[in-house]
Symmetry: C2
Subunit: 336 residues, 2 copies
Amino acid sequence: MKLNDITIKDIAERANVSKSTVSRVLNDLAIVNPKTRETVLEAVESLGYQANVFARGLASGRSMTVGVVTQKIGSPFYDMMMQGVIQGFTGTGYSPIFVDGQWEQNTELDVIRTLMGRKVDGLILLGGDISQKDLDDLRDRMPTIVVGKDVAGWEDQCVYVDNFSGAYDATNHLIEFGHREIAIIRGIMHHQDAIRRFQGYAQALSDASIDLDPDLVLDGNFSAQSGILAVNSLLMRGKSFTAVFCANDMVAYGARLALQRKGIRVPEDVSIVGFDDQAESSYVSPPLTTVRQPGVEMGVVAAEALVKLMQGGTCELPVMKALLQRRESVSRIISP
Amino acid sequence: MKLNDITIKDIAERANVSKSTVSRVLNDLAIVNPKTRETVLEAVESLGYQANVFARGLASGRSMTVGVVTQKIGSPFYDMMMQGVIQGFTGTGYSPIFVDGQWEQNTELDVIRTLMGRKVDGLILLGGDISQKDLDDLRDRMPTIVVGKDVAGWEDQCVYVDNFSGAYDATNHLIEFGHREIAIIRGIMHHQDAIRRFQGYAQALSDASIDLDPDLVLDGNFSAQSGILAVNSLLMRGKSFTAVFCANDMVAYGARLALQRKGIRVPEDVSIVGFDDQAESSYVSPPLTTVRQPGVEMGVVAAEALVKLMQGGTCELPVMKALLQRRESVSRIISP
DNA sequence: GATGCGTCTGCAACCGCTTTCAACTAAATG
DNA sequence: CATTTAGTTGAAAGCGGTTGCAGACGCATC
C-alpha cells in the first residue's frame, strides 16, 4: 500500500519526457514510441503512480464512475442485482457508486441529481418509480440503463424479467397440481412487477377456464407482514382456497406463518408459491416453490450494457426468463 | 431536473461579483457582505448551479466521498450495516462509495487502493480480513472506522457488537430452559466473530458447570449448507443433543431443515438458536430465537463517527449490545 | 486632513491532468 | 537533393474550482 503524492510531472521528469507523453501512454490514445512507452511505464511502476481522478475528471470530463440507484439496500432482489452490477463493472475501470432511492419518487430524483453533480458517466436504475417523462429526460442527458422494469420505448436500455410468464408458470403449476381455488397476494399495484404478475396469474386461470374470484385477490406490499395480514383476512372471511400465489418470497413466508398459526399445514392443506427465490427460500420449511429471478445476471448484463453505451456503442438486451423452482410448498390435490 | 453546464463563472457574472466571492459564499469560509451574499445565492438558485466536484476536489484536495468496504453485498448483516451507513451520511454532504472485498484479503487491499485512488476522504471497513499492520498503516493515512470487529489499539475507531455476551446469553437461555447437551455450529474460525461467539458459548457452559463436549462442536462457514452438513454429521455420529446454537441465522435455517428431514421436530425435539436476527427470522417456521445485532445502528454510528474524524475531531464509540430475541425455536426441557 | 484599521472584494496563481497544435525527426518520394 | 509524409513529441491552453494576497472602501482616531 503506497500513498500517492506523485503526479504526472514526477513521472515525466523521471522518464525524461513531457507530461503530454506520459498522459498518452497512460491513456494510449496516440502512437508513442515503444521505447519511450516502456520508460514511462517503468517510471510509473517504480514510483507507484496513480492518476488523480479529479484532475483527470476535470480535464477530460469523464469521471469513470457510474451511478447506481437502488430502492432499498437490504432487499433481497435488489441486492442480487447490486452484486451483479459490481461484478459486471470489475475490470472495466468504472466504479459504481450506489445510492438509495428508498422507494420514494422525490428521494429518487434527489439522489439522481446528486449523482449528476458527481458527474457520473452513466446511470443504472434498479427498479424505481420515476415518471416516464423524467426517464426520457434523463436518457437524453446520459447513458442510462433501467433494470427490473420495462419502459416504453427503451427496449434496448432495459433489462427485466418476464414477470408475466413467470407468474403464469407458477399459477399454471398450481393448476396442474389440481388446484382451482388459488388466492393471490399481490404486490404494490402501482409497481409494474406486481401488475404483470397479477396479469400472468389471471391469464393462467383464464386459460384453464377458471373464473377469477375477486374474493381470492388480496393486496399486499411485498412485506412478510402483509402476507400475514392477507391470509388472516382471507381466513376471517371464511373463503375456501387450496393455494396461495404470493407477490414475493417474503410475502410467502408471512403467509405460511399465518396459516400455521391457524393450524393449517403447508403444503398438505394449502400450497404456496412465491416469487424471487431469495437465498433463504431453499431452506425454510417447507422449502419454498418459487419463481427464480436471475438478479445477479441482470446486474451483470446491465453493467456490461452500460459500458457499451458509455463507449458510444449500442446494445441489445435480452428479456430475462423467470424460472419456476419446484420445491416442497406445493402439493397435488387428490381429486375427490 | 436540470443539467449543469453552469459554472461558477456564470454565477459570478450573473451576480456581478468575482468567482472568489461566489466561492466564499458557497463555502462560507470568509465574511461576505450579507447583501452580496444574497445576490449570489439568488443567482445560484435561479441558474440551478451545482459545483463541479472535480474542480472542487482538485483545488481543495477534499473529495467529499468516503469509501465503504463491505464483504459481500447481499449478506444480510453487512447489508444492514450498509443501510445504516447510507442513512448516517445523508445530509452530511459526504457520499459513500461502496466496494466489495469478497471476503478476500487481496481483493480487499485492491479495492482499498482503488478507493484511495479516488481520493476518498475517509474509509469505513465493514468486517474484513486485512492484517493489523495494514490496518495501522491505513489509519495513518486517512480517517478510518472499522465496523464489526474490534481491533487492538483502535478502541475509538471501532464499532462492534459484543459477540461474546450475545453468545453467552443465547447459550445461557438454552441452559435455563433445561438444556445440557447443547451443540454449536461455529463460523469460520479465523473470523473474530466466530471466535468470540464460541468463547461466549464455552463460558456459559462452564459457568453452568457443564463440560464442553468436543463432539458437540461442529465447524461451519456461516452458510445454510454448512448448517445442514453439520447437523447431518452430528446425527450420523449418533451423538445425543437437545439444542443447537448456530453461528448465524442462515446456519440455523440449514440446521432446522436437516433436522426436519430426519423427522426431528424443532423445537419439540431439538431447540435452535441463531445469531444476527435477519429479516426472515421472524417469519420462518418456527420463528427463530436468535441474537439481534443492531446492524443498521452500527452503520449509522460508524458514519457519524467518521464524519467527526474527517473534520478533525475525535469520537468515542460504544460497544453495541447484542440482544437475545426469544421466539419459538427453543422449548423447555421437562426434567425427567 | 492624515493615519490606521477593520470589512469586503477581486486578481491571479495554482490543483494535476487532457488535448490541441505546431514542430521536429527520419524515412520515403520525386 | 528538395520535398513529402508518417511517426513522435513538447508547449501551452484550458477544465472549474480554491485561496493567498493586495487593494478599495468606510469609519473612527489622532
